[in-house]
């Protein structure tokens, strides 16, 4: 199983779509390059920020742009739908279908987390290389210790949300074409963005839990634990149905 996952990751990383995703992580460094040729790149107002706050904003903004998520879903579609359609799935012969699916899951999520890790590193690099010379930078790692938990909470929620989008993408990729997968996942993304604004749908996604749990002594901790639980249930249910579908699939 470990060997299968290792080889699947080794294979997936050779693909152009995966390389495009990893290339996106270089985006924060582009700011450092830009600042050399154009000194008013950081047109910002407000309080000066540290490296931590800067990186946090970068992560949230990038996820809002949705491009990395979309590329990750594309990677999932090529790994699942297109391998079945193009019959390269025959390479796996009778390796247990659940193991093949697990390897695909791990490789797709690994690429997203590799992107995220690289993106965070690049954001720190961008801060210390370029932004820390700007008037809006404090030059320290954390400038607002009291807000660290709030920012970290938001970032974790964004990342947890991202894992759900990717999982929904995998669900589409098991059943429909690449175009439909992108369409379906985009629809889900838009739905997930507007849901917290409706009172009766607020609790469908855990991003809105903190407000509800503010009456407790540790709203962040309670909300985070509840979020993890809810996401775990979502992932478990989706995985169960995906595995069932994949195990019964006819590779014609």
């Amino acid at each position: 199983m470990i060997s299968l996952i290792r080889n699947e990751i080794g294979k997936i990383i050779k693909r152009v779509d995966t390389r495009a995703l990893l290339l996106l992580s270089v985006w924060p460094l582009l700011l450092s390059v830009l600042v050399v040729v154009k000194d008013d790149v950081f047109k910002m107002e407000g309080d000066a920020i540290g490296a931590f706050e800067y990186t946090n904003y970068m992560v949230i903004i990038q996820n809002d742009i949705f491009l990395p998520l979309l590329l990750t879903v594309l990677i999932a579609s090529v790994s699942l739908y297109q391998e079945v359609q193009k019959k390269t799935i025959y390479f796996y012969k009778d390796i247990a279908r659940k193991d093949i699916l697990k390897a695909k899951y791990v490789s797709v999520f690994s690429m997203y987390f590799l992107f995220l890790f690289s993106y965070i590193l690049m954001s720190f690099a961008s801060y210390y290389l370029a932004f820390c010379h700007h008037s809006m930078a404090t030059g320290t790692f954390i400038s607002y210790p009291t807000e660290v938990i709030d920012m970290l909470y938001t970032a974790i929620q964004v990342i947890l949300g991202a894992t759900l989008y990717i999982h929904v993408g995998i669900t589409f990729a098991l059943r429909t074409s690449t175009g439909m997968t992108i369409f379906g996942t985009t629809m889900f993304y838009m739905f997930a963005r507007i849901v917290p604004n409706f009172k009766f749908l607020k609790l469908v996604f855990p991003i809105g839990y903190k407000e509800v749990l503010e009456v407790t002594a540790h709203p962040y901790m309670c909300s985070l634990l509840l979020s993890l639980l809810v996401y775990a249930v979502y992932h478990a249910v989706i995985y169960y149905f995906n595995r069932r579908t994949f195990e019964r699939m006819q590779f014609n």
């Binding site: 060997s3 299968l4 080889n7 699947e8 080794g10 294979k11 050779k14 693909r15 152009v16 193009k86 019959k87 390269t88 799935i89 025959y90 390479f91 796996y92 012969k93 009778d94 390796i95 247990a96 193991d99 019964r248 006819q250 590779f251 014609n252």
Partner: protein, 283 residues
């Protein structure tokens, strides 16, 4: 040994069974040809043996192991169903990836030998997207042969190959199967080549196995008589044909048969006939 027992397959929404109650066995060192017209169920049968499609009924045993009940029964089976590869990896990398996921890293050093054997030694670093169809077919064969398989399942292996390629493939298969006591099942519409290779033939017709055995390829003598052959008077080794003035005489009894024919008839023409697999298939 490959054993297929009462295998039936009906696709979802299909009106009829693609395979109906098919049973056969393939023993060590045996090369079996699978023939049948388009849509007869050849590919369904092969994909069922490879576990790519899950049959509705019946069982398939590989060396006594039910493939439905256990995984990785096909690690020692070389498969060529369609020449498909990961286009972003070189020919060499495709084979290496295949060996690695099937825990056969020890054979990676033999990849170059296998590529040379199928005539792709110089193309090892090229991507399959740059290959012609014939080269892809050869790479598919390399994929089936790499890692010392004990069984081979080949669907239309001659398609796209030039005459030299076909000849090479026949000699590679003959050598590999006989020397390594492999079991092979080969489906093809190229009956002459199949005839050269196979010990036995399975014929599928509308999903049913209608023939399992060695077709009669013995030589016969076609004899034209001066008058219609009287069916009532049976002569050993003589069979009347549709044209009643013509009979088929077996070579095994030729002397005695001809002697008896000449008692009542005058022979006005003689022709030799050798059955081919093609003729057998059409009949």
């Amino acid at each position: 040994m490959i054993s297929v027992n009462n295998l039936s397959m009906k696709y979802e929404k299909a009106k009829r069974y693609s395979l109906s109650n098919v049973s056969f066995e393939i023993g060590d060192g045996e090369m079996v040809g699978l023939i049948g017209k388009n849509g007869a169920g050849k590919s369904t049968l092969m994909k069922s043996i490879c576990k790519f499609i899950l049959p509705s009924e019946g069982e398939i045993l590989l060396d006594g192991k039910n493939i439905k009940a256990s995984d990785r029964c096909l690690d020692d089976v070389g498969i060529l169903l369609e020449p498909v590869f990961f286009q972003y990896m070189s020919a060499y990398d495709n084979l290496a990836y295949y060996l690695k996921i099937h825990n056969k890293e020890q054979y990676i050093q033999e990849i170059d030998d296998v590529l040379n054997m199928v005539g792709l030694g110089k193309n090892r670093d090229q991507k399959p997207s740059d290959f012609s169809f014939g080269m892809k077919q050869r790479l598919g064969l390399a994929l089936a042969l790499v890692g010392h398989p004990k069984k081979l399942i080949l669907d239309e292996p001659f398609v796209g190959l030039d005459p030299v390629g076909v000849k090479d493939l026949i000699s590679i298969l003959q050598e590999q199967v006989k020397n390594n006591k492999m079991q092979a099942i080969i489906s093809s519409h190229q009956l002459y080549e199949l005839n050269e290779l196979c010990d036995r033939v399975l014929v599928l017709y509308n999903g049913e196995l209608v023939f399992d055995g060695v077709p009669d390829f013995s030589q016969h003598l076609l004899v034209d008589l001066d008058k219609e052959y009287a069916n009532g008077k049976d002569i050993a080794g003589v069979k009347a044909l549709e044209d009643k003035k013509r009979v088929e005489v077996s070579m095994d009894t030729i002397d005695e048969s001809l002697r008896q024919i000449m008692v009542d008839y005058k022979i006005i023409g003689v022709e030799t006939k050798k059955n081919s697999l093609e003729q057998f298939f059409i009949e």
